[in-house]
């Protein structure tokens, strides 16, 4: 009845899931590349509408939160439970800041009549319509991943508080961390493609 824990197996399982996520977003980036090739000028027009400052702030927020999650795993391995809890709470705050920024960003776009099937986009240039279509799909799916990542981190935080995630057993926190870093990875590509390239 000994509970032998297959740490490597747990990790490989998580990575396999992450590969499917990478391919999912990879497919969307293929779409972006193909339409960017067809409508480069109109993508530039669309890109100029996006707020670089909010985009940059969100990039920094996600990078810092990724650091905090990585540090929380270091802390749990060193048995520094308070550090782990603090760092996880900090990462969750960063996730909230990201989503609030996204809310204001999307809100401003919608206020300017830029949203799927809005009159401005439907009657405007086709490239601009496709640019914002991709913008909403990719940042929306990414936002959903941020929410899922925050849920996973919250579950890990509760388990740390209950003592079920500890120095000798922290696969849940480790895997939630991997998911959170994946969210960061995707944003690292989304940010230049939508906000900067044009």
């Amino acid at each position: 009845m000994s509970a032998r824990i297959d740490e490597t197996g747990i990790k490989i399982g998580m990575w396999l899931f992450l590969y499917s996520e990478i391919i999912l977003f990879g497919g969307l980036f293929v779409l972006y590349a193909a339409y960017f090739h067809r409508y480069p000028e109109q993508f530039a027009v669309g890109g100029k509408e996006l707020n670089r400052i909010i985009g940059s702030i969100n990039t920094v927020v996600l990078l810092v939160s990724s650091f905090a999650v990585a540090a929380s795993i270091t802390a749990i391995q060193r048995d520094a439970r308070k550090h782990t809890i603090g760092l996880l709470l900090f990462s969750l705050c960063c996730g909230c800041i990201f989503l609030v920024n996204k809310y204001f960003e999307w809100g401003a776009k919608i206020h300017h009549d830029i949203f799927p099937n809005s009159d401005t986009l439907v009657n405007g240039e086709p490239g601009v319509n496709i640019f914002f279509g991709l913008y909403y799909v990719i940042t929306g799916l990414h936002g959903l991943h941020v929410i899922i990542g925050m849920i996973l981190l919250s579950i890990s935080l509760v388990l740390v508080l209950m003592g079920k995630v500890n120095k000798s057993r922290f696969a849940m926190l480790d895997n939630s961390g991997l998911y959170w870093h994946l969210v960061d990875l995707i944003w690292i590509f989304v940010f230049p493609l939508f906000y900067l390239v044009l």
């Binding site: 990478i22 391919i23 090739h37 650091f67 270091t74 390239v197």
Partner: protein
């Protein structure tokens, strides 16, 4: 009673496989990532025409490499995860490369 030595085994196993990065090392990685973010934002204001795209993507790839190697511990993982990850990247390159090739030279 018999479980005790087994448990110990698990713990030593686990100390072998887990490389603990210090806060300082992680902080250094964060500093690199923030610097690269600054560079990519700065470069985007310089008009390089077509070259803006490869420059932005090259910086993004560098950042991603740092996140993968250190935050995601890929540098310290065994061959199974490293090889399967590289295969995924290779598949992604084929998917993006061939689709784009088709679209660009149609």
């Amino acid at each position: 009673m018999k479980n005790v030595p087994l448990r110990k085994n698990v713990m030593t196993d686990h100390e072998d496989t887990h490389h603990v990065l210090s806060y300082g090392q992680l902080g250094a990685v964060l500093a690199v990532l923030l610097t690269l973010t600054g560079i990519t934002v700065g470069v985007s204001y310089v008009h390089l025409g077509f070259f803006n795209v490869p420059v932005a993507l090259a910086i993004a790839c560098t950042k991603v490499t740092f996140v993968l190697l250190f935050f995601m511990h890929l540098k310290y993982e065994g061959p199974i995860i490293v090889i399967s990850f590289l295969s995924t990247v290779a598949f992604l390159m084929i998917m993006i490369g061939f689709t784009f090739w088709d679209v660009a030279f149609r």
